[in-house]
Subunit: 667 residues, 3 copies
C-alpha cells in the first residue's frame, strides 16, 4: 500500500481519464491511443460500466475485448486504472433477481435502463459483485498495465437509501448489532414519543413514507445503516481483489456533491483516496467549492496526497444550466487540485460519447474533435503537468481546521428543524470562503479528532455533537486553542436528542454561554449586530436568546426579537479562547469577526489580492508554491525559486498572469 | 354533562397541559409535580400516546406506571384529563394487521414510525380502540383525579382520507345508505358526464388517482364519508367510555388548521368542545386568526364555554419558520381565548421532550429549564388566571354572524374551479379581519341555522348552497336582516351541480341580482370599483358579469373585462337588505362597503384604536370586559369596575399597557 | 372519401358542437333542437362519452335513447357526427379487466371515475373497442343523419404513456419489429453506455422510473411506440366502421396542446382532419397560438380544408385562470379558423353541463341561458357563417414553411439537455409570430418533405435531424431556397446520438458553419449581438462557439462567453442561401434578421398594421380575403369585391371595425 504517493507505479502526476472503448469501433481505438500519446496521457480508467459485456450471462465471461484494450494501452505506455463494473449490473441480473431492485421511500420499485446499483442488501447482488470482481482480479491482477483498482463508481449516487425487503431485514440485523437490546433501542430512539415503543425486532422497519414525520433517530440510524451497507459492498469487492491482486484499491468519492457516505470512514477502507469533482455551474465562484472538496479529500485521507479521479474539461450535462468552462479555467481547476494535494489530474472522460444520457458531457476529446479549444488546452495541460514530477508525494499543511461531520449534517437535514433557512453547507462555505479569501489554508476535521496541532478550529454547523466530542473541544480550548462555534451547534447528541441542560450546554464551559431559546426570523427579516467598534454587521435568518456564563459580549443585536441581547461572545477558558456567533453573519460581518479571531489564534491573513489563490505543498527539502490567479488582471507576487510550468526563475517576485497559474519550487 | 361550564369539576380556569411522564425517568416526575404546583397547574392531559406502554401485546395490559402517575398528580391536587391513545396504535398492532395501514390517493401504503392512526375503516382497528378505551375506563372511571376523557388526538391530522381496501368497502356501504339506489347515485354524481354510469355497487371505488380529474361529487362524498368514518371511530370510543365512566368526554379539534372534519357535526357528539390552537408564524397578525379559531370553537358548541386544550408557550416545530412568541404574547394569546369563551388555558406541552419529531416544540418547562423567560411567564400566567374564577361559565354574545360551512369549503377546494386565485379562507379572514378591527364581535354560523337573532349575516364564500339554505337566507332578509354575500357564492348544490338558472340563482330574490358569467382575471390584473362617493376601491382576481333583477348598483367596475358593469349591489327585499359584492375587495375597499352595510344593519363599530381587541363575556349579573392590547403603546379605555388581573379599580378609565391585557368586571 | 371538402354531405360551413343529451331529461331535448335551429346549428357530435349507457354490460346494447336522439335531430335538419365512446370505458369493463388499467411511470395504477382510456395495449380493451364501434356502425351506418364518424376523443390526452404489463409486452414486440436483432437495438440505443447491453428481448422493459436518467433512445422509442399504439387503436376502430358504414371517419386532434401524437402520421390515417382548439388564457396574444394550430391542422392534412371540431364560446375550466372571451372574440377565433382552412366551426359544447369536472366550461348555451351575451353572439355567428357557403372547399397557399417535427420535439424534451432554458415551442412561436406580424402566411412541414415550392424554410428548433433529412434541406438550398436554422439544431440523429463530426455537422455544407461548443448562459445573463448596421440585437439563454466553413458573419456577439465570436451567419450555397442564428434573439432581433432574410427569399412583408390578420383562401375562380381585426381601432384595408358577412360591396377599400372581421370575395 502506498505511503507518501498514492500511485507509486507512476513517475509523475497521473494524467488521463475514463476511457470507454466499448462505445466505439476498433478503428477508433487506434486513434484514441495515438491522441492519448499526443496529449501526454499516462493513465486511463477502463471497465467501469462494462459488466454486461464482460459477464454475458451468469458466470459466463468474455474478456477478449478487454484483453485487447489493455494490451493496446500497455503497448503505448499508458497505465490502467481497472474498474469493477458493479455500479451497473446487467439486464440479465435484474431479470433473474427482480427482488434485487431498489425501492424508494414511497415504495416505487426502481427499473432498469439507467445506471445505479441493485439493492446493496440483496444477497444475489452481493454474490454477483464478488464474482465479477474476483474474475477481473484473477485475469488482470498480474497485468503490468494495471496500476490501480477502481471499485464500483460513486457509491451513494444515484442510489443511497433502499427500502426493499432485503434492506429492511438487513436494517434489523444492523440495529440488533448496534443496540444489543430492544430496551437500548427504545431509549436511543425515544420511542415513548408518539407511542412507537417496540416489543419485537421484527416489528421494526425502514423509515418509509408515513402519515407524518418519522422518528428522527430512526432516520439517522437508517442513514448510518445505508452508509454501512454501501461500504460493506465495497469491502466485499476490495477483499476479493486483495486476495488476488497486488495493486492498490480505491473507489471514487464525490466530496463536492454527495453526503450520503461518511468519507471519514470510507477513507480508512481504501488504499488510495480518490475524488470526482464537478463545479456547481450556478455558482460564479465555484472554484471556492472546488477548494473545499479538494481539502476535504486530503483531510479524510489523513493529509496525504490523493487522486483527482474525475473532473470535466468543460461543461457537464446534468445541471439546470451546464456552463462551459472558459479558456484557462480547466487548467486552473486542475492545478488547484494538485496544489491541494492531488497527485493526479483525471477526467470524465477521454472521448465524448455519442449516445446515452451523458452525450452532452464534455471530454478531453470533444465532439468537435481536435480542432477545438478544449483539445488544445488538454494538450497544453498534459505538457504542463509533465513538468511537475517533483511535486508528487509532497504534502499540504494547515494551521486551521474547519469541522465537517457527516453525521451532524445528516441529523440537521432531517425534518422539522426550527427554520428551513438553516443550512450547514451554507455556513461551512461562508466560513471557508472567508478563510480562502484571507489566504488561510485549512484542513477539515471531526470534533473528536486530536486538534491540538491547529491554532484555530471553526465549527460552522455542529448541530449534532456528542458529549465526548464536546469534551474534546473543551480540552482543545483549555490547552490553548481558539475555537469558533456558529449557531445551532451542540444541540443534540448522537441520537438526535436535545442535550440535557439545553442547547449548547455541552460547550458551556468552553464558550461561557448557552442558548435559552432559538429565535428564527421571518423571511427577509434582518438581524444586524452592533460590533465592538460600533459598526453594524449584517446578519439574517436566525437569532438566539443567549445566557451568559462568563463570556464577554463582543457584539449585541441591534434589531430583531433579540434586540439588545448578546449576539457574539468571547470567552477565555484555560489557556485558550472560545467564540460563539449566534446569527448568520454576512461576508463582511464574518470578515470583521474573524479578523479578531485571527488575533486570538495567531493566524496571519495573506496580503495577496482577493482572487489570487496561494497554497503550498511541502516535501522534505523544498516547497512548491501554487499561485492560481482567478482575477482578470495580472498579479505580482513575492517568490524566489523556479517556476516549473514555464521554467522561469523567480528571484524576488513573479507575475502570475490573469487567469493563469504559477508553481514555484523553492529549496 | 356540563351545561354552563365545560369542566364543573374544576373551580376556576383550567391551567396546565399535555404531560408525558413516560418520556422521563421517575425522578423527573417528582420535579414535575413540584414545578406544576409552583406554576399553579390544576389540570394535565396524560396517556395520549401511551398505547404501546399500556397494552404491551394484544389484550395484555400494564397500568402500573399510569396508576402511579395519576396517584402522584392527585396527591398534589392536579386533576387529570385522561387520553385514549388511539391516535398511535402500537407496532405490534400493525405487524398483526398490515391491512390496517392507511393508503394514500396514489396507492402508497403508509408505514409505521410516525404518528397517525390506522385505517379508520379497518375492523381490527375498530375492535382495538374499543378494547383499549374500555380498559382505561374500567380502570380509571372512578378515579377522583380524572375529570375529563380526551379521546384520540386531533382527528383528521395527519390522516384524513384513506384509500385502503377497507375504506373502499366501507365507502360503498356508506353510499348505499346515503342514496338507496344506483339511480339516485348516478343522478347525484352526474355520471352521464364522461361516461361514468354505474350498474353495480361493487364497481364503485374511492376517488383514487386517475388519468384526469375525478368526478367532483364523488370526491365531495368521499370527504363526507371520511369525516363520517373518523367520527364513527370517536363515537365507538366515546360510547365504550360512557358505559363505564361518568366524566365528560371530548376530543381536541383543530379549528385553525384542519378542515377535514365538519366541526358542526363533531360538536354535537362531544360533551365538551375543546380546541388546539397554533399560530401561523408567517402571519404578522396571527392573533386575528387566533380569534377566528376561538370564535369558531365557541360557535360550533352553540355559544357555550369551551376548552383551549392545546396551544404553545412559544414556537412550534412544524412550520417553515417557527417564530418564538415575544414577551407577553403567550399571555395575550391565552386571555384572548378566555375572552372568546374558553374556560381553560392548556398547552402542548408541560415539559419539552428531548427526543422525537417535536423536540423543538416549546413547552411550559423549556429545554432551558426554569431560568428562562418562558417559565417566568408561565408562572405569571398561572397566577393571573387564578384570579379569574368568576369568569368561568360566562358567555359571549354577538350581533353578527359570518357563515362558515365545511361542506362548501370542501367542494370549492376541488379541482378545475374558474381560477386558482379563489380561496374561501382568504375571504373569510378578510371579512372577519374588517369586523375585528371595527371591534365587532361575531359568531360563525351555517346558512341553514336560525339567523334571526343577528343584525348582520356575512357570507364570504358560500360556493355550495343548497336550495333549502338559500331559502333560509332569503327568509332572513325578508324578516329584516342584512345579508352580505361575496362572489362565487350559491354556485352549486349539495352534489356540486350548478344550480338551475345559473350562478347565484337561489339568492336572486334576496339580492336582486344574479351572475351571467364569471370573469376571473389574469395574474396581477386589477379590478377597481368606483364607489358611490366617487372613490376607487381596490380589487383584483375576479369580476362577474351581473344581471340586475331589482338591485341598485352601488359600485361599478372602473376597469377590467367588466368595466362599466355593476360590481356591488344593494337590494331591499322584504324588511331587510341584501348586498352582493362581485369582486375581491382589498382591506380598504371592504372598510368602505362594510361601513354602509353597518348602517343598514344597525351595527356600531368600536372607536378604540386599531389593535386594541375588546371582547365581553356576560354572566347573569355581571360583565367581564377583556381588553387585549396588541399595540406597542399604552391605550386608555373607558371602564368602570374591578380589573381582575391586578386588582385595580377602574372608575371611568383604565390604561391597558402596551402588549398587556386587562379584565374588568362590571356588575 | 372527400377530396376538396371535408364534409361533402353538408352544403356550407358546419356549425354546432358536442351534444350530450344523456345528461338531461327528455323535455330538455325538445328545447335543445328548438334553440339549435334558432342558432343555425347544422351538425352536432353525439355519443362521445356514452359507452356505459349504450353497452350496459359486456355485449348487451341499449340503443333506444340514441335512436330517439338521432331521429329527433334528423327531423330537425341537424346532421350528426357520431362518436365512438372508447375514450371512457364503462365501470363494468374495468371491474372485469383490472389489468387493463393504465400504469404511470412510477408504477401507480390509474383508477376509474375520471375520463381516459384503458391501457391501449390491453387485449381486452382492443376487443371491446372493436365491439362497440362495430355495433354502432351496424346500427347507424345507413342513418341519413349521420355524416361523419368521430372515433374516440383526443388521443393522447389525458393518457399517453402506459407502463402496464400489457404495454411492456407490446413494446418488446414493437422493438423486435423495428430492429430485427438485438445487435441493431444495442447499437441504436448505445447500450454500451452505462452498461445497458441486452442479451434477450425479454429483459427489455418500458423506461420506467429508475435511479437516474433512463437511456434517451429507449425513451424516444417508447414515445414512438406510444404513438403507434394509440394509432393502432384508432385504426382498429376505423376499419371496423369502414367495413360497415360509408361515411368519412375522423378523430379530433389537439394541435395546440398535445404533442404525444405525431399528427403527420395520424393525418394519413384519417379521412378528414379535425382539430380541437383551446386558447392558452395566460397568453395575451393567444390568437397567434390559434393561428399556429390552425395552420398545423391544415398542413398535416396536405393543405386541404379541415374541420374545427371543438373550441369554446368563452372560458374553459382546466387552466390555472380561465379567462372568459371578450365580446367579438369568439367570432374572431371562429373566422380565423375558417380563414386558415377549416370548413367547420364547432364547439365543445352545445349546453353547459350542470355536473362533473367540466361544469365551468363555457358552451353555446351557457348556464345563464339565452338571456346572455354568449348566446346572442352564438346566434349572430351562426347567421354569419350561413353566408359563407362559397368558401367551402377553397384552399390556403403559403410561400413559407416552418419546420415542425414531433420526433425532434420528443427527443429535445428528454432529460439532461445543455440547459433547461431550451424550448422548441418557444422558438417556433417566436419565428411564427414574427411572420404573423409581417402578414406572411406559412405552412408547417417536416424536414424530409419536398420543400421546393417554398421561397423560405425556417427551422426554429430541429434538434433531431436525420442525415437523410439534412441532405434534403441541403438540396433545397442548392436548388435556390432560403433556409434559416436556429440554434441547437442538427445535433442528433434518429437515435438521439450526436452526429459524427459534431453539432450541426450534417448542415455544414448548406450553412457554411458548424458548432464547436454549446455555451448556455447563466440565469438572467444577456447575449447581445452586434448586427451588420451596428445596432445591438437583444438575445439571451444561449450562445455557441461557431467554426466558420465559408459562411459570412453578419452578426457577432457583443458580450457573454462568446463575445467577439460569430453569432449569425449567412452562406451562399448552390443557388440558395443558408442562415444560421446561434442565440435566442428577442422579437426585435428577429425582426431585424428576418427582414434581411426576406430580401434573400423574395418574401414581401405586409404593410397592414400590426394586429390586423389577413389570410386568403383560394378557389379555382375566386379568392376570399379574411381580415380579422384584433386591434382596438378600426382599420381601412384595400379591397375590391363583396364582403360576405354584411353583404357590403368594397370597391377599393373597406373598413374592418375594431375587433371585427371581414370576408371579401373577389373573382
Amino acid at each position: 500500500m502506498p505511503d507518501q504517493t498514492p500511485l507509486p507505479a507512476l513517475p509523475g502526476i497521473a494524467f488521463g481519464g475514463d476511457y470507454n472503448p466499448e462505445q466505439w469501433p476498433r478503428e477508433t481505438w487506434q486513434e484514441d491511443v495515438r491522441l492519448m500519446r499526443e496529449a501526454g496521457v499516462n493513465l486511463v480508467s477502463v471497465g467501469i460500466f462494462s459488466w454486461a459485456l464482460l459477464e454475458t450471462a451468469e458466470g459466463e465471461f468474455d474478456f477478449a475485448w478487454l484483453d485487447e484494450v489493455i494490451d493496446l494501452l500497455h503497448a503505448n505506455g499508458i497505465a490502467v486504472d481497472l474498474g469493477t463494473p458493479t455500479a451497473s449490473p446487467p439486464a440479465w441480473f435484474f431479470a433473474a433477481h427482480p427482488d434485487a431492485r431498489v425501492v424508494t421511500r414511497d415504495g416505487t420499485v426502481m427499473g432498469f435502463g439507467s445506471r445505479g446499483m441493485a439493492s446493496h442488501s440483496s444477497p444475489a447482488y452481493r454474490e454477483a459483485i464478488v464474482r465479477i470482481a474476483s474474475a477481473l482480479a484473477d485475469r488482470y491482477g498480474d497485468h503490468p498495465a494495471v496500476v490501480l483498482w477502481h471499485v464500483h463508481n460513486e457509491y451513494g449516487v444515484p442510489v443511497g437509501e433502499d427500502y426493499s425487503e432485503h434492506s429492511v431485514r438487513a436494517f434489523r440485523g444492523w440495529l440488533r448489532e448496534r443496540y444489543g437490546s430492544l430496551d437500548a433501542l427504545n431509549a436511543a430512539w425515544g420511542t415513548a414519543f408518539w407511542g412507537q415503543h417496540y416489543t419485537a425486532w421484527e416489528h421494526i422497519g425502514a423509515p418509509a413514507a408515513a402519515p407524518s414525520v418519522v422518528n428522527p433517530a430512526q432516520r439517522l440510524d437508517f442513514q448510518r445503516f445505508t452508509d454501512h451497507q454501501l461500504r460493506a459492498c465495497f469491502i466485499a469487492e476490495r477483499d476479493a481483489i486483495r486476495a488476488r491482486a497486488p495493486q492498490p484499491i480505491t473507489t471514487n468519492f464525490m466530496a463536492n456533491q454527495s453526503w450520503t457516505t461518511d468519507l471519514w470512514a470510507w477513507a480508512r477502507d481504501v488504499d488510495v483516496v480518490s475524488d470526482d469533482h464537478y463545479l456547481w455551474a450556478a455558482d460564479e465562484d465555484a472554484h471556492i467549492g472546488l477548494s473545499i472538496a479538494a481539502d476535504l479529500s486530503r483531510s479524510v485521507g489523513g493529509g496525504k496526497p490523493w487522486i483527482l479521479m474525475e473532473h470535466s474539461t468543460s461543461a457537464v450535462n446534468w445541471q439546470p444550466r451546464n456552463i462551459a468552462k472558459r479558456p484557462g479555467e480547466m487548467a486552473r481547476n486542475s492545478l488547484t487540485h494538485v496544489a491541494r494535494g492531488s497527485d493526479a489530474v483525471l477526467f470524465f472522460q477521454w472521448r465524448a460519447g455519442r449516445s446515452g444520457a451523458e452525450k452532452f458531457h464534455s471530454a478531453m476529446l470533444p465532439h468537435a474533435g481536435t480542432d477545438s479549444r478544449v483539445w488544445r488546452e488538454v494538450v497544453a495541460l498534459g505538457e504542463g503537468l509533465s513538468r511537475l514530477d517533483a511535486v508528487v508525494g509532497s504534502r499540504v499543511e494547515a494551521d486551521v481546521a474547519v469541522l465537517w461531520d457527516f453525521e451532524s449534517f445528516w441529523a440537521q437535514d432531517l425534518e422539522w428543524r426550527p427554520t428551513e433557512d438553516l443550512s450547514h453547507q451554507e455556513r461551512v462555505r461562508a466560513f471557508y470562503e472567508r478563510l480562502w479569501r484571507d489566504g488561510v489554508t485549512v484542513d477539515f476535521a471531526l470534533p473528536g479528532h486530536d486538534l491540538s496541532r491547529y491554532r484555530l478550529v471553526v465549527a460552522p454547523a455542529q448541530y449534532l455533537l456528542t458529549a465526548a466530542d464536546a469534551a474534546n473541544l473543551t480540552r482543545y480550548v483549555e490547552g490553548g486553542g481558539t475555537l469558533v462555534v456558529s449557531y445551532f451547534s451542540a444541540v443534540v447528541d448522537e441520537n438526535d436528542a436535545v442535550h440535557p441542560g439545553g442547547f449548547l450546554a455541552p460547550l458551556r464551559d468552553a464558550l461561557g454561554v448557552d442558548v435559552e431559546e432559538h429565535l428564527p426570523l421571518r423571511e427577509g427579516a434582518a438581524a444586524a449586530v452592533e460590533w465592538s467598534d460600533g459598526a453594524l454587521l449584517g446578519a439574517d435568518h436566525w437569532q438566539e436568546s443567549l445566557r451568559l456564563h462568563g463570556a464577554d459580549v463582543v457584539g449585541a443585536y441591534a434589531e430583531g426579537p433579540a434586540a439588545g441581547g448578546a449576539a457574539i461572545t468571547r470567552h477565555r477558558h484555560g489557556a485558550g479562547t472560545g467564540w460563539y456567533i449566534s446569527t448568520r453573519l454576512d461576508a463582511e460581518g464574518l470578515r470583521a469577526v474573524l479578523s479578531d479571531v485571527y488575533a486570538d489564534a495567531g493566524v496571519v491573513a495573506s496580503s495577496t489580492p482577493d482572487g489570487l489563490e496561494v497554497v503550498r505543498r511541502r516535501a522534505d527539502d523544498r516547497t512548491f508554491l501554487f499561485a492560481i490567479n482567478h482575477r482578470d488582471d495580472d498579479v505580482t507576487i513575492d517568490a524566489v525559486g523556479r517556476e516549473l510550468l514555464t521554467g522561469a526563475t523567480a528571484s524576488g517576485s513573479l507575475v502570475v498572469p490573469a487567469g493563469g497559474v504559477a508553481v514555484i519550487e523553492t529549496d
